[in-house]
């Protein structure tokens, strides 16, 4: 029993730890009981909106200790991890960067941060990395296991001097026109990383080179690939239809934990 408790403690980032760790994000309330984490940026009409809140609130309550997702052993890594959605953005700038081995790729971190920065791949790799072997669950029904290596998103925001008061979402733009928004509840999760490595190698083209997001408690469509930029914002208004991402603009759930 005690062992189980210890194990749980290990796997759990306590709220206090989280708050000290996130000194750079002091403006944000990060308790799982904060109702801002119970709702998507736009609540849909009628019963659909009620169901969205029920799903999100119940899961966020159950996740309020920011537990880590299960990590698998290296031997369980899936060979032939599927490539889904766009596999090579038809984007001039992207193709130029790709031809140059991504040496000129930059990640601007802007918006409501104290010191906007633009990180190169090398600079991103200098941030203390995290490696995790996790299961990718696609909303369509498939699942596969891979090992991801990258910089914690929280560390990247710290590298930009932390976020300002009132910051609520981060918006990630991708080459090829995709964009997706995430709230701070997911940003602070230790397994939310900007992954540049997959199964011990550089992130392959089809899986989103040079950098994709791993936000492990969500379906595959939130794991945005081919990252172009990060903005910290107080509202999703003005991005697409304002629902918080391209997938939810199309009518899929913004909260993809279910």
């Amino acid at each position: 029993m005690k062992k189980k408790e210890e194990k749980r403690k290990e796997a759990t980032l306590t709220r206090r730890k989280l708050l000290t760790r996130t000194g750079a994000l002091s403006g944000i309330l990060l308790t799982g009981c904060d109702t801002q984490f119970y709702r998507p940026p736009i609540i849909r009409d009628g019963l659909m909106g009620v169901a969205d809140i029920l799903t999100m609130a119940s899961q966020r309550l159950l996740l309020s200790e920011q537990q880590l997702v299960q990590e698998h052993s290296v031997s369980e890594i899936t060979k032939d991890f599927p490539v889904w959605n766009q596999s090579n953005p038809e984007d001039e700038e992207y193709q130029r960067l790709r031809a140059g081995g991504y040496r000129e790729w930059r990640l601007p971190v802007t918006g409501m941060v104290n010191q906007p920065v633009s990180l190169s791949l090398e600079e991103l790799k200098r941030i203390p990395r995290r490696t995790q072997t996790t299961m990718h669950i696609c909303e369509q029904g498939w699942s596969a296991i891979a090992q991801w290596t990258g910089a914690p998103l929280l560390s990247v925001l710290e590298a930009a001097g932390g976020v300002k008061n009132g910051a609520r979402y981060i918006v990630i733009d991708a080459y090829g026109g995709w964009y997706e928004g995430y709230d701070m509840f997911d940003v602070v999760h230790p397994q939310t990383i900007l992954a540049y490595g997959m199964n011990g190698k550089d992130l392959p083209l089809g899986n989103g080179a040079p950098v994709r997001l791993r936000v492990e408690r969500h379906c595959g469509y939130k794991q945005i690939k081919f990252i172009k930029s990060i903005q910290v914002v107080s509202s999703m208004e003005g991005f697409g239809r304002g629902t918080g991402g391209l997938n939810s603009d199309y009518g899929f759930h913004w909260y993809a934990g279910a």
Binding site: A51, L63, Q70, G141, W142, F252, G257
Partner: protein
Amino acid sequence: MNKISKNWIYRHSYNARICHWITAVSFVYLLYSGIMIFLQFPELYWGKVGFQGYPAIFRLSDWGLSWEEADALGDRRWGRNYHYLFAWVFVINGIIYLGWNAWQKSFYRKIFPTRGELSVSNFKAEFVRHLRFKAVDRKKAEHYNVLQKLSYLIVLFLLFPFMIISGFAQMPAFTAISPELIDLFGGRQTARTLHVVCTVLLTLFVIVHLVEVMVAGAVNQVRSMIIGKYEVPTEISEEA
């Protein structure tokens, strides 16, 4: 029962009636939306992982519908939205139903078989009667028969909870909330496969349920599930 008039018996309480119809509507939506989701990934796997090209234990294409054809028929955007909406309707309705009835002694009398009903001879008699599609006499019409009771118990306390739990085991959030649950199923894909198997079992239950309603008299049965009163056929009630 004291509410019996000459040829009528009071059969279903109003909470059972309301919850029955909400369950019925939820079931139709959950089944249809589930099919819409499944059609856009019409393969089943066993274990933790599975994807197009991975050894499948079931392929719709083996049954004459190619991946492309199935994909064109399905609509998982609509499907996922309505699946989660009616999952909530179903769960909340179920909690209300059980919460309401857990305190009613009559509920246990109604749905749990008595020791006498569990005898081999009674089983035999009920089987034979069902196979002959014979309706019951008045005295028995007041109660569920033993096969009815057992199938309702299995659906309420086994298949329905199983659907909910195997649904949880497919959700990415549960890799953090309770990975033990996913492991209990032997992996995410096994949970998905068993979710579909359980769907088939529930659908079979509904088909048999509807056939039984026809046999026992559709108008009378459906009416009793709306107004609560059940008319006992005259000639039988005269016999009794």
